[in-house]
Amino acid sequence: MKVLVTVKEVAQLEDDFEIAGTSVSDQYFEYDLNEWDDYAIEEAVQLQEDGIADEVVAVTIGPERSEETIRMALAKGADRAVRVWDDAIEGQELLDVGAKTRILTEVVAEEDPDLVLSGVQADDDSFGATGVSLADAIDFEWAAVVNDLDLDADAGVASVRRELEGGVEELTDVELPAVLTIQTGINEPRYASLRGIRQAQRKEIAHMTLGDLGLDDAATESALDLTDMYEPESESDATIFEGSAEDTAGQLADLLRDKGVAGQ
């Protein structure tokens, strides 16, 4: 079985930053592998270690800079990676779910996987929708927000748990081929070993353009136009205790004593 994992390098904002127009300058970002994708990679690598997956391929839509992050996925055990990028994608301020779906659909056509794992959402644009949209586009079955996976390759069924709200889990059998969106906590993502990091240097990251995938620039056109970006107004009316750690702890302790919580 071949497993394709969609991964993304996400931009995380520092605590202090400035917005210019509809974007934030690069200097205020730190780049990292999307948290949910880390769990998706781990799940795929475990399928490989269990002898269920023959090959694990990571795919990303991202600029050259993201290769550093993608290589972390390779160091953790993915066999190779595909990186899709070109000027038309770079020119889009916000790549919407439809555009990502069109691009990934062609990658799936090239790679022909039996199972696609994606993170539930990306930490930057937070659409939370690309995996299910992709499943519909490639006519795979799917399950969103999966926190347990038991794969029976012979029967062609993935038995999953979906994490619903309020501490309820739904048990669902999903026919393969399928796209599963992976929730954090499904496993314990490993740290890359030194050996893994060395091996990752020799693994392939194939760069593909829209043209390589048989797409033209129109594929990147987003129906969503980013018109404004701003810091949410603070609604805080909290009483803030000022001073040193001892001072603030003292004021909080007084409050807790006053309210009868402790120290009576």
Partner: protein, 319 residues
């Protein structure tokens, strides 16, 4: 085609709160677009659900008697068929775990743009403007949707629920389900997070988040809880890391708690966490980032390092 179609959500015999919030959001959009609000309910005891959804501002409730519980293949097919029948401008779905299990498929299948996790919406001159968060809630954005129609998922608890009864017409909608395309089967539900500690019963919760950094540091939090005769709870990452069991998790996918005092330590206050603790009587936040959203709902705050403040606090009660 200026109508709005909203699809309600239910689980295990009850309509979920977001269904009533969708009515409010849907009515608001219908007023702005000049159309009618259609609400559909799919599966389960549809007639009883239709009574409950016959609310102020709803023009038509469509009942679709297909199955008992949510199945995304059925919901996708039904929504497609309702769309074909009603020709609405906007399809409003909940941004819930189940909403996100079919809304993207509906959008893809109908070749419509998808706007997910909207916290505010406005229609003006045929253009839909949605407000969404990015970068973990650190910024808000507005996006204009450049299309005649769209699928929109709505974040829960952003619109108030509609409660007043209405005088909608209730119509049964006869969907035709292609069973061959239903390739997933829900086999059951399970409550998780039972255990020796019930954080929903605690008067005082000392709740810990990502700021604790290492598992070993949790001892500090248990020491504080002991000094205050409190119970330890946590935000999601602590449970994801396996440092605390699921029964300690506060938030959307964990427990909803309403203690007298909730002391949030090293918790940024993501919306999923806040959903589980905003009902606490007194909220105290200790966090190094003064812009952390936890301070928006806190009654008392300390902008400081938990590794300095917590030992000093323990000292206050034990020193």
């Amino acid at each position: 085609m200026s109508d709005i179609l909203a699809v309600a959500e239910h689980r295990r015999g009850e309509l979920r709160d977001v269904s009533f919030e969708l009515v409010t959001a849907g009515r608001q959009l219908a007023d702005q677009s000049g159309g009618d609000l259609h609400v559909a309910v799919v599966g389960g005891t549809v007639d009883a659900y239709a009574d409950a959804l016959n609310l102020d501002g709803v023009d038509v409730v469509h009942t679709v008697d297909e199955g008992e519980e949510f199945n995304h293949d059925v919901y996708e097919q039904v929504t497609d068929q309702l769309y074909a029948e009603l020709d609405p401008q906007y399809v409003l779905l909940p941004n819930s775990v189940n909403g996100l299990d079919y809304a993207p498929a509906v959008a893809n299948g109908l070749d419509l743009p998808l706007v997910s996790d909207a916290v505010d919406l406005a229609v003006d001159g045929g253009v839909l403007t949605a407000t969404r968060e990015m970068y973990g809630g650190k910024v808000e954005t507005t996006v204009d949707v450049d299309a005649d129609a769209a699928v929109v998922t709505v974040r829960d608890a952003e619109w108030p629920p509609t409660e007043e009864a209405g005088d909608a017409s209730v119509e049964a909608f006869d969907a035709s389900i292609d069973e061959a395309a239903v390739r997933s089967t829900v086999t059951g539900f399970e409550e998780v997070g039972a255990g020796d500690v019930d954080i929903t019963e605690a008067d005082v919760l000392v709740s810990i988040g990502r700021g604790i950094e290492e598992e070993e540091n949790l001892d500090l939090i248990f020491d504080l809880a002991e000094a205050l005769d409190a119970t330890v709870s946590s935000s999601r990452p602590i449970v994801d890391n396996g440092w605390l069991p699921k029964n300690r998790q506060v938030g959307q996918s964990g427990k909803v708690v309403t203690p007298e005092f909730y002391i949030a330590i090293g918790i940024s206050g993501a919306v999923q966490h806040v959903a589980g603790m905003k009902g606490a009587e007194n909220i105290v936040a200790i966090n190094t980032d003064p812009n952390a959203p936890i301070f928006d709902i806190a009654d008392y705050g300390i902008h400081g390092d938990l590794f300095d403040v917590v030992p000093a606090l323990i000292e206050e009660f034990e020193g």
